[in-house]
Structures are given as structure tokens and as C-alpha cells.
């Protein structure tokens, strides 16, 4: 128990006042708040603009440029499709690539290509409208067929239309989004979010998504208020509608009344003050009241985020997701030198604190433009499984990381490990590369720590064996949870069953930590759980040594760390491990928080 003098309390005016009742005329839509903050501004509807084609005609003067636009879009679509087809063939073989090859052929099919050009030249249709007109005609014919096979081909043609239209609009789309708008979309990709954020939008709300989907992680990383899983917000919003986006409560209010706007402007102000107050925690050490240090590190995906480390008091990078570099470039391979330049810059900026580079973790929901479709990607070809199959991806990356080690401390983290053999194989590749680097006269650190993600339950269960083969563990609680509970974290239908605090998950964490500490290696935790202050005492009690989260969450985590003692968190962990389900654990944490008076802003409490 803490004594009164050690209470950590927010000034009372920073607690959220009684729930705000909506006024008539405004539409309130509930979703999941995945990136904190409040935005008030006009909506920009992205989804429809992206795929809906309007009837539009062009002038004679625009004709040549319109034909060139069409050519460029066809060329880019062809490149996409060829790449997708070749990878599909290479990896899956047989007929898997034929659909993409057929789509590529269609691009130059006179029935399509010449017909579209004709519509542009003779009827002065815009390229988008011409494509839609021509493809609609074919789709109608195919849809009228008795053959199911042909009706399916109608969908292929729609795919093709979307692909060409996307290429026609890329760039154009961005320029129509106003800097101070709130983007409303069915679904955005992580790359979309980055582009929009650079454009200066205020926030975003989407029909789909979950709190751990990639786009949500990205929104948090960019401090862009976001609400996902709204179940159809795109049906209620028009571009230009005034909107309040509450990324704290997970709520969107369309056409808010004056009173509502005033209320939310106050909330905005309160949130700013809270952030200001958190700043004061930044220079203080992250240690419990009985002096047990916890390393608070940052999850990072972009170079742009590096400045956030100092701002929020992160001590190094606990997880750098290298695949994002590749996804951003929309390329399947970056050269060793391109990668080296980035890694070196990061290591130099973050040093002397360490940087943990997680090697490419493709697969799951992070698709390269590979195009192969797996029935069950999360149980499929991902992480280390891809890398060991594809030395052309793995070798340049490891060489680049090892070369960067000459410029500052770094660690290497292997994703999606299930078998010891994968670790042995990885180390063998590293040794070979070390020999090559020596032969090439390249400098690198002789002892680079190598750790593994503990995200497959099998690894947690075999932790004792793994602990003697690696230098550290990193608990990926997002995947560990979905693999342990058999719940797809991105699936709205079962999202409520995705519970990171399930005692089964906690048991696996406990087992991993015990095995690690027995041989003297450290355990880091880099899942979303690390970002939740309510869970911090529990994680400390389970013995986790390092927490890595989006930098923005770290001050609040530190506030909790500094308010508790290890004895009491260990007792809490023991109690949580004996709970029956996640709801009991949550109730326990909530009760515990109140009892120990780590009274956090109620905005964070809604999660529990």
C-alpha cells in the first residue's frame, strides 16, 4: 500500500466530467478509440472518393494529358500485376498466378484498352469514367451468364478497374484533402495514414479495424487521434460535415451542436494540460518506490518518430519494425546500402541507448505487394519463416544491421520463431555474414545480442530451452494473445474475445520470465499491453524488465511505475494468475488501482 503522501493524483479538473449527453440533431457514433486526442473539424470522405467514379467529360485541350494519364495508370497496374503474378508463381506454383496474368493481359486487350482510348478520344470521357463505362459493359455481359465461373470473372474485372482507378488517382487524392480535415474512410492502410499525416490532417475515423491493427498502431505513432471499428461511419458522413472526433472515448459526433462543441473544446484543453503535466515526468527515472528500475523503451517505425524518444523520455528503442521501411517504399527489396544508411542514422541518433531491430516480419496482416493469398496468413508464411526461405531478403538486411553496429549499440530480434532450429539457422547465417564482413574489411560489433519474439505459445512453453540459446526475449503480447486464445485480433465479430489479460496469456508471460531470469537474460514486452497503464503494475509483478510502447504512452506508464513497490505488484501478479478469466483480472486491476490510489485520468480508465 502507498501512504497518502505518495498518492499520484491528477488535479481534479482533469478528470473527465459526467458523461456528455448528445443533443438532438447530432449523430453520435461509437467505435474504438485507438489513438488519443480530440479533433474538431470538417470531414473528408476518403473511401467513396477513392473508388466511386463520376461521370465527367474533358475538354479538347485536356485530351492528350488524359490519354497520358491512362497510359501511366495502365503501365503501373501492369507492373503491379506482373510482380504479383511472378511471386505467386514462385511461391505457390501452378495456377495460382493465372488470375493475375489474365488481368495483366486484359490491360492491353483491345476490348478494354482500345475501347477506353476510343471513349476518351471520341466521347471526351475522363479516363476514370471511360474505364468504368467499358468495364461495366463487360461486367454486365459476364454477370448475365449462367456460368458461375464467368460471374466470378466479373469481379476480376472490377478488381482491375479499382487497380487502374487507384493509379489514376494517386497523388490527385492527396491534393484534395484539406490540411485541417478529419479523414473518414472504410479502411486505410498504414501507408495512407502516413501520407495523410504529412498532409496535416487532424484525425481519422474508419468503418473497420481494431486497436492492434497496423493502421491503428501507426495513428498512435503519429499522434493522430483515431477511432476505428465504427460499423459504417462512412454511411453517415458527407465531405464538409463538421465533426468531433474523440480518440480517447472512441466516439465521433457528426454535426455537433454548439454546446457539444464547447464541451469538446474544453476536453481538448484538458487533454493538452494533461500532456503538459506528463512532460514533467520525462526527466525522472522509471523506478518503483523501492528502487527497482524498469527500462521504458520506444516502439518505432519511422525515422520521423526518433525525435519523440527524447520528448517522452524513452531509453532506447525496444522494437524497430524494419518491415515498415519496405512497406513505405512499396518495394519487396531495399538494397543493403539503402538499409544500412537508415539503420546507421537511427543508431547514431538513439545512442548510447540501444536500438532493437526486429528483422523483417512480413506476413500476417502486413502484406508486401506479394499478392499470394493464404487462407490463414497468421498461421502461414510469416516472419522468420519467410526469411529462411528467402536469403535474398535476409542476407542484405543482416549485413546492413551488422554494419550499423559499428556506430552504436544495437540488438537483433527475430520474429515468429517456433522452433529452436530457426534460431540455430539464423545464428549460422549471422556467422557466415560476419566472416564475409571481415573479409570485406567492414567494421561491426563482435557481440551483437540476438533475441527472439515470444509470440507463439510454443515458444513460451519451451522458454527454458530457448533461454539458453538467445540473449533476450521480447514478448509480443498481441500475437501471443491471438494465438493462445484462437481469436483473430482484426476480426470485429470476435474482437471482444481478444483479451490480452486472459490468465492463460499471463501464465505464459510468467513462464517466459521465470525461464529467462533463471539464466540471467532479460525480458522485454512490446505488445499493446505495454502501453496500458492499468496493466503496468501487473507486468512489473510478473517480472518483465523492459516495456516498449509508442513513446506517447511512456510518461503515463512511468507515473505508475514510480507509484508502486515490487512487493505489492508481485502479490498482484500472483492474484491475477489465479483468476478465472480476463474480466476477473480487469476487475482486480481496477480495484487494485483505486486501492493503491494510482488514480489515472479517467480517459485511460475506460480500457479496463
Amino acid at each position: 500500500m502507498l501512504s497518502d503522501s505518495q498518492h499520484v493524483e491528477l488535479p481534479t479538473e482533469q478528470g473527465t466530467p459526467e458523461r456528455h449527453d448528445p443533443f438532438a440533431g447530432e449523430i453520435v457514433i461509437e467505435g474504438i478509440g485507438v489513438a488519443p486526442g480530440i479533433a474538431i473539424g470538417p470531414a473528408y470522405l476518403y473511401a467513396r472518393a477513392a473508388f466511386e467514379v463520376e461521370e465527367r467529360h474533358i475538354t479538347r485541350e485536356e485530351l492528350d494529358e488524359e490519354l497520358r494519364r491512362f497510359e501511366r495508370a495502365v503501365a503501373k497496374s501492369e507492373r503491379d500485376l506482373n510482380k504479383i503474378a511472378s511471386v505467386a508463381k514462385e511461391k505457390l506454383g501452378g495456377d495460382s498466378s493465372s488470375i493475375f496474368e489474365a488481368q495483366a493481359l486484359m490491360l492491353h486487350d483491345s476490348e478494354l484498352y482500345d475501347a477506353v482510348r476510343e471513349r476518351i478520344e471520341q466521347d471526351h470521357m475522363s479516363a476514370d469514367y471511360a474505364i468504368q463505362t467499358v468495364i461495366n459493359k463487360h461486367r454486365q455481359l459476364l454477370n448475365a451468364s449462367d456460368s458461375e465461373y464467368l460471374r466470378e470473372r466479373a469481379n476480376d474485372m472490377l478488381d482491375l478497374q479499382d487497380r487502374i482507378v487507384r493509379h489514376l488517382r494517386r497523388g490527385k487524392l492527396l491534393s484534395v484533402v484539406d490540411a485541417d480535415s478529419i479523414v473518414i474512410a472504410e479502411n486505410l492502410t498504414a501507408a495512407d495514414i502516413v501520407l495523410f499525416s504529412r498532409r496535416g490532417i487532424l484525425g481519422t475515423a474508419m468503418d473497420y479495424g481494431g486497436s492492434t491493427s497496423h493502421v491503428s498502431i501507426m495513428a498512435r505513432a503519429l499522434s493522430l487521434p483515431a477511432v476505428v471499428s465504427t460499423h459504417g461511419i462512412t454511411n453517415h458522413v458527407q465531405t464538409g460535415d463538421l465533426i468531433v472526433l474523440d480518440g480517447l472515448e472512441g466516439r465521433v459526433i457528426i454535426q455537433p451542436s454548439e454546446e457539444t462543441q464547447t464541451y469538446y473544446r474544453e476536453c481538448q484543453e484538458r487533454y493538452r494540460r494533461l500532456q503538459h503535466e506528463q512532460k514533467q515526468l520525462v526527466p525522472l527515472p522509471a523506478e518503483t518506490i523501492d528502487g527497482h528500475p524498469v527500462r521504458l523503451m520506444a516502439n518505432v517505425e519511422f525515422k520521423e518518430e526518433l525525435k519523440l524518444l527524447k520528448e517522452y523520455g524513452a531509453v532506447g528503442i525496444g522494437l524497430f519494425r524494419t518491415e515498415i521501411l519496405f512497406l513505405m517504399q512499396r518495394r519487396i527489396s531495399l538494397s543493403e546500402d539503402e538499409q544500412f544508411a537508415t539503420y546507421k542514422q537511427i543508431v547514431e541518433t538513439v545512442g548510447p541507448d540501444p536500438v532493437t531491430f526486429r528483422v523483417l516480419d512480413f506476413g500476417g496482416d502486413k502484406m508486401l505487394p506479394l499478392g499470394h493469398r493464404e487462407h490463414n496468413p497468421f498461421l502461414g508464411w510469416r516472419g522468420i519463416r519467410i526469411l529462411l526461405d528467402k536469403p535474398e531478403l535476409m542476407v542484405p538486411q543482416i549485413r546492413a544491421i551488422m554494419r550499423a553496429s559499428a556506430y552504436g549499440p544495437l540488438r537483433i530480434l527475430i520474429p515468429m520463431v517456433t522452433e529452436l532450429n530457426e534460431v540455430f539457422e539464423f545464428r549460422r547465417v549471422m556467422e557466415e555474414i560476419a566472416d564475409d564482413l571481415r573479409a570485406d574489411g567492414e567494421e561491426f560489433a563482435e557481440s551483437i545480442p540476438v533475441g527472439i519474439m515470444v509470440e507463439v505459445p510454443a515458444v513460451a512453453l519451451k522458454a527454458r530451452r530457448f533461454a539458453s540459446e538467445v540473449d533476450f526475449f521480447s514478448l509480443g503480447t498481441n500475437d501471443l494473445t491471438q494465438y493462445t486464445l484462437a481469436v483473430d485480433r482484426g476480426n470485429d465479430l470476435v474482437a471482444d474475445k481478444y483479451q490480452e489479460l486472459d490468465p492463460a496469456v499471463l501464465q505464459l508471460i510468467k513462464q517466459t520470465v521465470t525461464a529467462a531470469h533463471d539464466v540471467g537474460i532479460k525480458v522485454s514486452l512490446c505488445g499493446e499491453l505495454a502501453a496500458r497503464p492499468q496493466a503496468t503494475p501487473l507486468l512489473l509483478g510478473l517480472g518483465v524488465d523492459e516495456l516498449s510502447a509508442s513513446p506517447v504512452y511512456l510518461p503515463e506508464i512511468k507515473r505508475v511505475v514510480r507509484a508502486v513497490s515490487m512487493d505489492e505488484t508481485r502479490a498482484l501478479a500472483d492474484e491475477a494468475l489465479s483468476c478465472g478469466d480476463a474480466h476477473e483480472v480487469k476487475a482486480l486491476l481496477k480495484h487494485w488501482m483505486h486501492k493503491h490510489a494510482c488514480d489515472l485520468a479517467s480517459y485511460l480508465e475506460r480500457d479496463s
Partner: protein
């Protein structure tokens, strides 16, 4: 002009991959190439056209070639049908 009668022997019929093979092969030749099924005729160099034939196993097609290299084109396309488009039987 060369006209050939062929029968679709492969099990899956003229689905995506065989259709692509026909179009790619036909495109190597200068001759014009049409495929007729019942009373429906399509351009054999158009993937969209070939797919809309929806020719299934057992269907009989009439192939028409016209141009300088019509004989070679006809042989190449007929060979595809005879080989069952490389499908494992």
C-alpha cells in the same frame, strides 16, 4: 484463310490459364484470329473475348486464321488444344 475444328479436352475447360495461353500464343502471330462457338464469334487475341466463350470440356470450337503466317498460327493454337493446355490429366 485457315479454318480448324478443335475440341476442348482439358477437364477445366477454357478457364483463366488456358485462355491466357491462347491469347499469348496468338499474339505472337500477325494473322487475325477468331474463335467461333455455336453462333458466337470472338477475337482470339482478346483475353476478355476468350473467357466470355465459357467453353467447357467437350465443346467444339471453330478457329479461323487469316494472314501471312496463318498456317503457323493455326498449328500453334491447335497444338495447345491437343496438349490439353498442359493440364495434368
Amino acid at each position: 484463310m485457315v479454318v480448324r475444328e478443335v475440341t476442348v479436352t482439358n477437364r477445366a475447360g477454357l478457364h483463366t490459364r488456358p485462355a491466357s495461353m491462347i491469347v499469348r500464343t496468338a499474339s505472337k502471330f500477325d494473322s487475325e484470329f477468331f474463335i467461333q462457338k455455336d453462333s458466337y464469334e470472338i477475337n482470339g487475341k482478346s483475353i476478355i473475348g476468350v473467357m466470355t466463350l465459357a467453353a467447357e470440356q467437350g465443346a467444339t470450337l471453330s478457329l479461323t486464321f487469316e494472314g501471312e503466317d496463318e498456317a503457323e498460327a493455326a498449328d500453334a493454337i491447335a497444338e495447345l488444344f491437343e496438349s490439353g493446355f498442359g493440364e495434368v490429366k
